[in-house]
Amino acid sequence: MNKSLATESSRWLKQQQKSRIQKSENFIGFLFISPMLLGVSVIVLFPIVATFILSFADWKFVTGIEQLKWIGFDNFIALSSDITFIKSIINNAIFILTVPMTMMIALFLAIIIDRNVYLKSYFKVAFFMPYISSVVAIAVVWQVLFHPSQGPINQVLMTIGIESPPTWISDPSFALISLMIIHTWISIGFSLIVYIAGLQSIPKELYEAADIDGANSWYKFRNITFPLVSPTSFFLLITGIIASFKVFDLIAVLTEGGPLNSTTMLVWHLYERAFINLDIGYASAIAVVLFLFVFTITIVQWIGQKKWVNY
């Protein structure tokens, strides 16, 4: 009886001690994460909630808060007949084509680098350089390279016999393609590095076994390499699509959405409405649409990672 009381009380003591430790762990835990928590709340959480609320308002920033009017879904209704907005969505959709393009070139290069080549680290740095360089500087360089009459690219095209080469970024039917070429050129380095890492994780025995069976290169690519890098491909596909929605610098420096709205995209349209027209409510509605697109893609990624990736 006494003994059990003693164990009982010691257990009680231990529990007290444990809960005291837990309490201090709680406190310390909050202390460690509080700067991050506070920052994320102020910089991201509060603004994104505000974006949703403001998307139901009609408000020009310059007029002061008292002029703000609540107009329900009118902004979204206006969006559905806004030609520039629809053009932006179409352009965003077309721009997604850069993602498979980038991935194919990167995978091709990665396979060669992963096999035996000399100067491995030189190649990694060379292909990666556009990715770390500032988009503004790169855009300016390409602007001159693409110069319609005197630019080196068109001079080369004219020497090899193309008499009237496209005027690239000043031609409405070539401007978007020009941006896509530059964007692909910038993004290849990133995909390449990720693919090389993915290829290195494929067990070499698989290739040796295939060699013994007399398999050719294409067979090995089709049945070993391609399926085994599919998690990497899936990751690159999703991050690539999300990144394509965020393209801003290239448009801002090279075309400002023109000529004739041929290169406008969601982010650019948002920027124009918000910071040039100061149309806060309308821009917030565009931001909500942008958010929903990226949100949907992220959800697809979460589900897809479990479902479609075969290891």
């Binding site: 762990e25 310390i28 835990g29 909050f30 202390l31 460690f32 994460i33 700067p35 991050m36 920052g39 102020v42 910089i43 991201v44 509060f46 603004p47 994104i48 505000a50 974006t51 290069l109 035996n116 080549v117 000399y118 100067l119 190649f123 990694k124 740095v125 060379a126 990666f128 350089m129 770390i132 360089s133 500032s134 503004v136 500087a137 790169i138 300016v140 360089v141 001159v144 390279l145 005197q150 080196p152 001079q155 990133f190 590095i193 990720v194 993915g198 990497t232 929605f245 965020k246 801002a252 420096v253 920027y271 918000a274 806060i280 821009a283 917030s284 931001a287 909500v288 958010f291 949100f295």
Partner: protein
């Protein structure tokens, strides 16, 4: 022996193919550098003069660095913003990463999910309220505001947390029995172990901040506060067709990064590879 030689020839051919591909990636940079050294009338000479015949390098770079838009000022601004953003971001992220991985408290799990969920928000979607908020707080058009915008990185927190999780709990418990508190454990044990990861993240954050164009464009108005990317754009608009000057500015904007990248090459490439494979 013969097989060995065949392997070598294959290796040489692969290297050659890659080398030609890599030229496509380097040529724009070489063109940029070579143009920045020329005189204006030689810019569009064809066939392209890769090595300038008439040099004008000193006067070009002098105009960029000490002319009407003096780059030394914008360099200083960019260095200040990038270094401070990187420092604050590394501190905030590593503290949070430790709290989310090595301090066991029930609220931590779901708070981590909330923080992680904010990664889904494209930065541009919260831009408008940020703009209004910053004006209201009086930190619009200041470097402080710009630094604040880049200091709370979910990606950094997530990345460092992965590495903290790799430290065995017994290690932490042993230190606790010896009487060390979480602060000491974090500072003396955990952080030194994950130092390579911290270096990788710091280099990446520095590069991203240095290259950022959108935030300075929206949150800065005063010329004297411009960062290098914003100045680069203004410089281009003003100097319209002086391509040698524009290229000298572009070289100046890219060069420091190239140095950071080449010095920390292994960290950057490993970090990106790791992030990519883990997803």
């Amino acid at each position: 022996m013969r097989k060995h030689r065949r392997m070598n020839i294959k290796k040489i051919i692969s290297t050659m193919i890659l080398f030609f591909c890599s030229i496509a990636f380097l040529l724009p940079f070489i063109w940029m550098l070579s143009t920045s050294l020329k005189i204006e009338t030689d810019v569009f000479k064809y066939p392209i003069e890769w090595i300038p015949t008439r040099w004008n390098a000193i006067s070009n770079y002098q105009e960029v660095w000490f002319g009407e838009y003096p780059f030394y000022l914008y360099y200083w601004n960019s260095i200040k913003v990038a270094v401070l953003t990187t420092t604050v971001s590394v501190i905030v992220s590593s503290l949070a990463a430790y709290g989310f991985s090595k301090v066991k408290f029930p609220a931590g799990a779901w708070l981590f999910i909330i923080v992680l969920a904010t990664y889904m928000v494209p930065p541009q979607a919260s831009l408008v309220p940020q703009f209004i908020l910053f004006r209201y707080l009086g930190i619009f058009d200041t470097h402080f505001g710009l630094i604040l915008l880049g200091s709370f990185s979910v990606l950094g927190t997530f990345m460092l947390r992965q590495f903290f999780l790799g430290i065995h709990d017994d290690f932490i418990d042993a230190a606790k029995i010896d009487g060390a508190g979480h602060w000491r454990i974090f500072w003396r044990i955990a952080l030194p172990i994950v130092r390579p990861a911290v270096a990788t993240y710091a280099i990446l954050r520095f590069i991203w901040t240095w290259n950022d164009y959108q935030n300075p464009l929206i949150f800065l108005r005063t010329d004297a506060l411009y960062t290098i990317q914003l100045a680069m754009q203004k410089f281009t608009t003003i100097n319209g067709s002086f391509y040698t000057l524009i290229m000298a500015a572009a070289v100046s904007a890219i060069l420091p990064l190239l140095i950071v990248f080449i010095l920390g090459q292994k960290h950057v490439i490993d970090g990106i590879a790791l992030g990519g494979v883990k997803g």
